[in-house]
Amino acid sequence: MKKSILVILSLALLCVTAFSQNVYFTKGGNIDFLSKTPVENIEAVNNQVVSFLKTETGDLNFGVLIKSFKFKNALMEEHFNENYMESDKFPKATFKGQITNLDDIDIGNQGIYTANITGNLTIHNVTNEEETTAQIEVKAENIVAISTIIIKPEDYNIEIPDIVKEKIAKIITVNINIVYELYKK
């Protein structure tokens, strides 16, 4: 009798672990960037970011369409797409990475955690390994993740002509703001 209870219990436990392969997602994530120089500030926002987070493994995926970055100034948007990002040739940027300190984050418990993230960032068809930290807030109904990365255009083969060099910052601050929902299928 005792044995069968044990078997049932361990089976139940197995089921729980098998089904808690939780996947969180968003397709309306927010990424904005700022290029700050004394001459001018250039800002753009993209709120159609797709991202998946597997809380069991810490796998983290991002997909961003370059043409979904919106500028206040139409000319800047045009230059960004045509001259710098060449979005007709390279329509998207992606990030495939992982949370490396998964043990410090208790997805089952509400609270604020700091995640260390490493992964491969591909922009303009150039892939670099990037490292950052994110603040992850586990809430009752969703997970909110906030992070910032610093990107150098030259690392991604983005050529900036001399004539506008003073207008475009050497380092660009990219803010990431995601509200993940549990993915149910």
């Binding site: 997602f25 397709k27 309306g28 709120n47 159609q48 797709v50 997909g63 961003v64 369409l65 370059i66 043409k67 979904s68 100034n73 139409a74 000319l75 948007e77 797409n81 979005s87 007709d88 329509p91 998207k92 993915y183």
Partner: protein, 138 residues
């Protein structure tokens, strides 16, 4: 002397106009643009699923009109997100707040299950095909 003055004025004014046109030109207005392609949402999705590169070279940055049955409508801080086929793996059309204000009456009436035509700019394919700067065209 008068001639020089007039010339100076003409040069200044045309310079100013050129400056405004070049550096402060307005964003494209979807209302005024003609759709280069008219296609059903499911056909568009199939094209991207089967050959993304080919579909990109055909549709990227172009104004297209898609037709389909709404499966989800979301209002995210004034921007309407209308999904066809599947919320995550379908076709997503964003009616940006600027247009949403102009089409408030049409948008309020939209319901899941409605068949509609939407015109907008195709931005590419992630898990879904994305269109933005959309307007309801029918």
């Amino acid at each position: 002397m008068k001639k020089i003055l007039i010339l100076a004025i003409i040069v200044t004014v045309s310079g100013l106009i050129a400056y405004l046109f070049v550096f402060h030109k307005p964003h494209k207005n979807t209302f005024k643009l003609k759709a280069e392609y008219i296609i059903s949402a499911s056909e568009l999705l199939t094209e991207f699923e089967t050959d993304e590169n080919n579909a990109n070279s055909k549709y990227l940055g172009k104004i297209i009109q898609v037709e389909g049955e709404i499966i989800k409508i979301k209002n995210i801080s004034g921007n309407y997100e209308i999904s066809f086929i599947d919320e995550l793996f379908g076709v997503t059309c964003i009616v940006d707040s600027v247009y949403a204000v102009q089409q408030r009456d049409e948008l309020i009436q939209l319901k899941v299950g409605n068949n509609i035509k939407i015109k907008g700019q195709c931005n590419g394919y992630l898990s879904d095909v994305k269109l933005d700067r959309c307007i309801i065209s029918d």
